[in-house]
């Protein structure tokens, strides 16, 4: 045992306490930094030489403390769990937002919605039934029919707009996600290189974890530890980032809502063209664009078609104010009555006289057909108008279908928002668990600080005591 080894031991203690204090400082400094994982100095006692030198005698004591390793406290399992929960919360948030926007497009229940417009349209027939010859009642009906058709078209239009905005935002999101994936690949390389040269990678790893979490929220990515310091990023079973290389992603498919019926909207890798089963916000966007919005548009199309069919069928059995047989009331804008959608529903009648209110033909009302094609007299019967007024009560009519669609929308939106709040609670809990493992507790740092302060003081005391001892030893030799 060397005379001076005690000093060396005390030296390592001083150095270890200092390093521990540095780490404490780093922890305190980053107590509120997003994504920071607390670090800890791994103190290890330095053993005495296990294989004694030749001819050496005596029992040696340890050689002090080693404080080289600074580890990052991280639970990889919780990390993956957090990625999953953030992904589903992000997806549900988008779906919930879309359903809210769809509900806002319908404005129900209220006096501006399609239901109110339908009701006032039918009531217009009621007024005609009372006063079939009154042009005021007739033009009121035509105005209301125009309002109804415009209401259905504009509701469909706002859904189209919603779809377009969602597609744009998904496009932007993919651009951002591509950049993020490239950054992760870059960090993988840096971390690999740093690990090989034995440098600390804690802060880089934190940064990478944060980026992967962002990617989880955006596209539902999860990470796989490759063991060499790098993490692979996997999206729905397809590896997006492998070590230092990242694949790009692109959105392919139709540019408008109606196109989704024939061609699917797909996010695929570039290069490669492998379709990705994404999660997160991208999944929410895709669900909105392939199922929620087109679903409600399809139902609205059905309602427009049903309205046209039921009104046209009745209207064509009657006679208008000039004694002519009733024509189509609603068309698809090009004259047809079978290809009506919410986008093209149009009122075909151009004149108030064309509204057919009578079931009785002019011949039965004593009229005769003149050489110029007009009738000498027509009936002022209005029973057809009453029949049309009664169509609002049809169990299979446009009104009933519309009501059940709105109720269905309400149920779907409620279910989604309930799932979202449940998922949010789970996500918050997982985040709290991650935070409780990796977060900085200031009380703990303060106690560590005191502990290392005392350790440092004690080591200093040791140095000064050994110094005194050496002093005494030197003085003996006088």
């Amino acid at each position: 045992m060397s005379t001076f080894s005690g000093l060396n031991t005390a030296g390592t203690a001083l150095w270890a306490a200092q390093r521990a204090m540095d780490v404490t400082g780093q922890n305190v400094a980053n107590a509120n930094t997003d994504g920071y994982s607390r670090q800890r100095v791994d103190l290890q006692s330095v053993a005495a030489g296990a294989v004694p030198a030749m001819w050496s005698t005596g029992q040696q004591v340890g050689q002090g403390v080693n404080a080289d390793q600074v580890t990052r406290i991280r639970d990889a399992f919780l990390q993956v769990q957090a990625q999953g929960s953030h992904s589903s919360v992000a997806s549900l948030t988008v779906q919930d937002g879309t359903l809210t926007a769809v509900q806002q497009a319908f404005q129900e229940p209220g006096s501006n919605g399609i239901q109110a417009q339908l009701s006032s349209f039918w009531a217009g027939f009621g007024d005609i039934a009372n006063h079939p010859a009154d042009s005021g009642a007739r033009s009121q009906l035509l105005e209301r029919a125009q309002t109804l058709a415009a209401g259905i078209r504009s509701t469909n239009g706002s859904l189209d707009q919603q779809w377009g905005q969602t597609r744009d935002s998904l496009q932007a999101l993919l651009t951002d996600a591509n950049a993020t994936a490239a950054s992760i690949a870059g960090l993988n390389q840096e971390i690999k290189a740093a690990t090989q040269t034995g440098l600390s990678t804690n802060e880089l790893a934190d940064k990478r974890d944060q980026l992967i979490m962002k990617l989880s929220e955006q596209i539902g990515a999860s990470s796989v530890d490759m063991g060499d310091g790098t993490l692979n990023v996997v999206v729905g079973g397809t590896t997006l980032v492998a070590g230092g290389t990242a694949l790009g992603m692109e959105l392919t498919g139709p540019n408008d809502s109606r196109g989704t019926a024939s061609a699917p909207l797909v996010i695929q890798t570039r290069p490669g063209g492998t379709p990705l089963r994404v999660g997160g916000t991208a999944d929410g966007d895709l669900t909105s664009m392939t199922s929620i919005i087109p679903g409600y548009q399809k139902q609205l199309d059905g309602i427009a078609q049903q309205l046209a069919t039921q009104v046209n069928a009745a209207h064509q059995t009657g006679y208008d104010q000039d004694g002519n047989a009733g024509g189509k009331f609603f068309t698809d804008g090009a004259g047809g009555g079978t290809a009506v959608t919410a986008a093209n529903l149009t009122v075909a009648l151009t004149s108030t006289r064309q509204v057919a209110a009578a079931t009785v033909d002019p011949a039965s009302a004593g009229g005769t057909l003149q050489p110029d094609g007009t009738w000498s007299a027509v009936s002022s019967d209005s029973n057809l108008a009453d029949t049309l007024f009664q169509q609002r009560l049809l169990g299979t009519g446009a009104d009933a279908t519309y009501n059940s669609m709105i109720t269905g929308l309400g149920v779907q939106a409620t279910a989604t928002s309930t799932t979202l709040s449940a998922q949010s609670v789970i996500s918050t809990n997982v985040d709290a668990a991650v935070e409780s493992t990796s977060g900085v507790n200031l009380d703990e740092e303060m106690t560590n600080m005191l502990q290392f302060q005392h350790g440092y003081a004690a080591a200093g005391k040791l140095v000064s005591t050994i110094n005194q001892m050496l002093d005494d030893l030197m003085n003996m030799v006088q």
Partner: protein, 301 residues
Amino acid sequence: MITRVTQRAVTQTSLQGLYGNLRAVNKLQQQLSSGKVISMPSDDPTGTNKALLTRQALSGNAQQTRNITDGQNLLATTDSTLQSMVTGVQKVRDLTVQALNGGALDAASLQDIATQVTGLRQTLLGAANTVAQGRPVFGGITSGSTAYDTNGKYVGVGDGTNPATAVNRRVSDVEAIRADITGPEAFGSPTSGKDLFAVTANIAADVGDTAKLRGDLSDLDAVLQKMTTALADVGTRAARMDAAAQVNSTQQLNLTSVQSQTEDIDVAKTIMNLQVQQNAYQAALSATAKSITPSLVDFLQ
């Protein structure tokens, strides 16, 4: 069980709680300021369905109110016209009886009676062409402006060759009441040649010819009988219309109250809830303020 708790975890969970509280306060405030429980279908899907159905029924009900008022007007006009016409016909009958009994009447007096009957006939013809809401009330579904022409010939629809079609008023979802009566129904069929105007014309022509006049008188009695029946018919329908008006307004009250119950907030309850929620929010705020501030740092000298 999480044993290690950090300041940030406390902050996060506190924030989560505060958000939840504030969200509830916001929702209640929104309900109070709009006065509506349901602002979106997702607030209450079943309530929304009920609200939609109620609004639909209310709209139909409002239209039926208009229909009933309209029908009542039409029937009232028909009723008063018929009553005045019955009086007129009775005068014609009196004159006819006078002419029959007046063996002692001289030719001038008989001529006078004939002139009076002709005059009364014109008045009756005018009344039979009474127009309500732009259409002759006794003309059926004619698009013309009169029910009888100047000669007393029926020109409306429903004269036998062209069957009459009822003019109805929809008074409820399941009931429509007829609001008109055609000339032939009220004054006799023109095809038989013995309707009111043919008979009165005959009387005016036959004054002095007792045998013919006797036949005319029995024809006139038949017409009068028909008119009083028509009057009773119109009165019955007016009564039905009144009853329908009662039902209609009761229904409207019920529907309005259902709508209010479905869509509107219970103000007292909502304000109470808001107060409770505000207390909870304030408690959460003060608890958060207390739990976040201290750490060991505060106690180290």
